[in-house]
Symmetry: C2
Subunit: 598 residues, 2 copies
């Protein structure tokens, strides 16, 4: 049975020592988030995740979800009880607006605890995980009536939300979608079509399921500009708020898939189902993107979460398992026939890579969430704009780089187990299978790269990426002035230079030939991820140095941060030049091969 | 349902145009392998693999193997019939010695067709795949009586062989093994112990199963020097060759695992089972290494095979699936609402990376097999020694790099499918799950790296690695003199220089501190793999250039080889410096972190 302990101390280090969120106490929500409150929240969720959710992770994988002939879907054993506890404790309400029954706490706190839930049980989290994004979409785009009907029960967790984009013939290319919306006389619409890959599209955890559905209103342009967004509940809601008739929508099938067996991936059939327009007609994609951006940050967090729990298990195994002797006789345990796996440098390499990625990923995810808070709530217009710019730029990087590294960490952690990692009972292979989806859904990581290079870089004449360079450059200069603890600045400076050069190259050559931008997009995204992780290690090293210099706190904790920063600086950042060269290799070798040669 | 077409033309290109195996017609076996015969063999096996074995691949994955309460194991539906066909056609006999009923053909031919079987159905291949290694071990180490009893029926496929090393508490560290052998009065031994992870340890495809088992004879040193090898048949063999009593060994359980469900991974219990010593007592590891080295080359081939079949499916999907438009208007198909995936540079990048790895892997696997033939059969002592040196050096690289790249190719190919790649029915996720084991078994890829750096590099004062550098350097010089078609020589030269520098660094710093060797081993192995693949592309580009210059043959086939070589040269080889830097980063950051910090 896999183990899991929520890394509360690490989260608090980032929130307090690295991001210093205490300085935002003037912002709505932050005032209530005193250090004590935060620590209590993280501790409680850490406990709930480890004690209630983690033991159900393998149950979900082994048992899966069951669909009955009537289309109803049953979650794995124990999930319903855990969900009731989850809601009774008020967890879904944490970061939602107080106006609708939420606690109004900062998003950055929600992200910190979200990681724990996801490490413990990704499939469980997915029953409720998309609801926050659906709420955000409704709050920004829906009229007051729709908000009053749907949002309070979604905030409490009584109802859950879903996201319906994909159809059998269209995923990334939403312009191709065929789902139709016919106006009804009462102002509602009749929605007809088939949606696939709908996570938690049907289940028995919540009383109602609120589907946000993309469709084309009859007569709209048959392309991406003709898409509207509708709210389509599983049960219609009576005027008094009680549940009314079953809507004409149903789950036609569950997909059999590689992982996340504990969550139902549904084919949803809409058969003239009653829905209501969210926002303006033919502006559906913009409304959905509010949800999608939240979801992309959440998927990045899933990648980290799988990497973290996999690492924890591999580290524990490496300490326990004895196999072979240390290469140096003086490091061999007296009287033992074999030493533990930690004596082997290559085992340490795998563990330290995973650890260095995970900790940087946690810092970047929390930093990104803080930008969400700042972009919404800062009283300073410039700070709001800067936060929004940075968030937009780095959302594809957080989604893709955290999931690529999370998958790599899970694979490495499985490798530490040797043959035992391939056997189901140890649970390592489930982490790999569950992590794999994160690179695919909410826009594949290749689609993220195109978003980064094609939209985010050129936006506002590159204002966001210039702001990013300024911030990283300023932190490098500060670190150098402070003696460069752990040597991250010295290693990050050339990586940043490679990123800047690659950016220039794309600006010049992507304009001349868009295939240059497309062919280099993925390596560019990797390079920005590498640099962003280096930036986070720079910040963490500085905070650890301050911690050590203060003379208080846990010295070995801070020293490990410096050791990991040094590891990242010396072994990871040197990869920047190879990525830059791949970007600069251009499109010729990629586009030249004729179709028939594939 | 996944597709598969055996890449016969590609195999023939390597055998004939790149390796020019016709020049070895003076060697035993090669004389019978005329171009016509080879083409016929490859064509036949390609057909059998595609038509009979590939359709059973998903059956094996879905159905798995079943163990009954009496310990008997049933293979998935259809496997027995396919195996009977496989044997009736004489496939198992192909490369075995004529003296024991084999056809005595070169190993390099066996490797070419082995790829097809593995692409079509890895789990099926594994029922018989270890038998060749077991035969090799018996032929070299066993006495004539044992050879006569066991080898002919193993050559025919009537009996299959297994490899029993691992025990619950010991995998890599065989010195810890506890299985005991007590001498019987008749010269046989009573074997008692439990072995795990025994592929095809029990099943219903063959009449008998011949287990090669590592055990310690009572009184032997309780470490790696006290290990002996035994042949332990499932059924004892009567003097007339007929099957006698059931031996006291049984399959105690089947492992539930991530993939290769179609093959039974057995816990084997030996309860005083009768076995016979193979070779000398306490020299068991050397005898087993004959089998293991063959198995390691075979596992490398498995990696390639999964990468190849995954690529084929992804390429077909990319041609068929329409999603989004080409970035350049002139490349958009008139009248279509969307273009196929091949218009997208990042989709091409994924496909071309996989393709470039697969073709280099095929060339390296066949080149390696040719060294097996030359090391056995060359009349020239120097040629035998050189082949043996090169094979020893590159066996860990072929095992690890081909499986790492095979897994990466399978993951990329799955990614091309987007969300559909995660769904079981498309079969892509099975390729990923099946490929994953290849990085783990027969010595994890980290163990391969230690073998490369710790044993193969320093052996004979570096004679093998110097020979490798000479060969690659000579080919670079030749290519440059010939105008460097596809520019591989220009890109390979600095990669080779990085490899040489990293080798020097390891020689100097690994001596001073063995942890430097351990910490850099994996990156060094990657660097040697990258260089070896580059070397293969250099050879393939030269052969393609000759083909084009000849004015005969398939021009577009040769042109694609040049295009892929150019792709590899421009986009992959530039990674060499980053790997060298990782080697040269040394052990400090890896070993410094104290155990309690993990």
């Amino acid at each position: 049975m896999p183990i899991y302990t929520a890394p509360v101390k690490d989260s608090l280090f980032i929130l307090n020592d690295v991001l210093d969120i205490g300085r935002y106490s003037n912002l709505p929500g932050f005032a209530n988030a005193s250090p004590d409150v935060i620590e209590a929240i993280l501790g409680e969720m850490g406990k709930f995740s480890a004690e209630v959710l983690a033991p159900l992770n393998r149950v979900g994988d082994e048992h899966g979800c069951k669909r009955a002939d009537d289309g109803s879907v049953t979650a794995p054993p124990g999930f319903k009880q855990a969900y009731d506890q989850f809601c009774a404790a008020g967890w879904p309400t944490l970061t939602s607006p107080e106006e609708f029954g939420g606690q109004g706490l900062p998003h950055v706190i929600g992200t910190a605890i979200g990681e724990y839930v996801l490490s413990a049980n990704q499939a469980f989290e997915m029953f409720q995980g998309l609801t926050a994004g659906a709420i955000a979409s409704l709050l920004v785009k829906a009229n007051d009536e729709l908000k009053q009907i749907y949002v309070p029960n979604m905030v409490s967790g009584k109802w859950t939300g879903t996201m319906n984009l994909t159809e059998p013939h269209c995923g990334t290319d939403l312009g191709l979608l065929k789902t139709k919306a016919e106006p009804n006389p009462d102002g509602s619409y009749a929605i007809t079509g088939t949606k696939i890959f709908i996570s938690s599209g049907e289940h028995d955890l919540s009383d109602n399921i609120i589907h946000l559905v993309l469709a084309k209103i009859a007569g709209a342009p048959d392309n991406v500009k003709g898409i509207s967004l509708f709210v389509v509940p599983k049960f219609l809601v009576n005027d008094d708020g009680s549940l009314g008739a079953r809507n004409t929508l149903s789950c036609g099938a569950l997909e059999k898939k590689m992982g996340i067996h504990g969550n139902p991936t549904c084919v949803m059939n809409y058969d003239g189902a009653t829905g209501w327009l969210v926002g303006e007609p033919e502006k559906g994609l913009a409304a959905m993107f509010i949800m999608m951006n939240a979801a992309r940050l959440g998927v990045g967090l899933q990648g980290l979460a799988q990497g973290e729990v996999a690492y924890q298990n591999a580290a524990a195994y490496a300490k326990d398992r004895r196999q072979g002797r240390a290469l140096k006789p003086e490091d061999r345990e007296d009287g033992a026939k074999a030493d533990n796996l930690l004596v082997h440098p290559d085992v340490r390499r795998m563990l330290l890579e995973a650890r260095a990625w995970n900790e940087a990923a946690r810092a970047l995810a929390l930093w990104g969430s803080l930008q969400v808070d700042l972009s919404h709530s800062s009283p300073d217009e410039h700070e709001r704009e800067l936060a929004d710019d940075l968030l937009g730029l780095l959302t594809p990087v957080i989604k893709s780089y955290l999931t690529d590294k999370g998958f790599a960490a899970a694979v490495s952690a499985q490798q530490v187990f040797g043959g035992h990692g391939y056997i189901r009972e140890h649970g390592m292979e489930q982490f790999v299978r569950d992590a794999r989806i994160t690179q695919i859904y909410e826009g594949t990581n290749g689609v993220q790269a195109m978003d980064l290079v094609g939209r985010k870089l050129p936006k506002d004449n590159g204002r966001a990426v210039r702001a990013f360079f300024d911030l990283v450059g300023k932190d490098i200069a500060e670190a150098k002035a402070a003696g460069d603890p752990a040597g991250v600045a010295a290693a990050l400076e050339p990586a940043l230079a490679d990123l800047q050069a690659a950016t220039m190259w794309l600006a010049q050559n992507g304009m001349a030939d868009p295939y240059n931008a497309g062919a280099g997009a993925y390596s560019y995204q990797d390079l920005m991820g590498l640099t962003a992780f280096g930036w986070m290690w720079l910040k963490m090293a500085a905070a650890a140095r301050r911690g050590l210099d203060s003379g208080s706190g846990d010295k070995s904790f801070y020293q490990t941060k410096l050791d990991l920063a040094d590891f990242y600086a010396k072994r990871e950042l040197s990869g920047s030049n190879a990525l830059r060269k791949k970007v600069e290799a251009g499109a010729e070798t990629v586009m030249r091969v004729p179709e028939e040669a594939f």
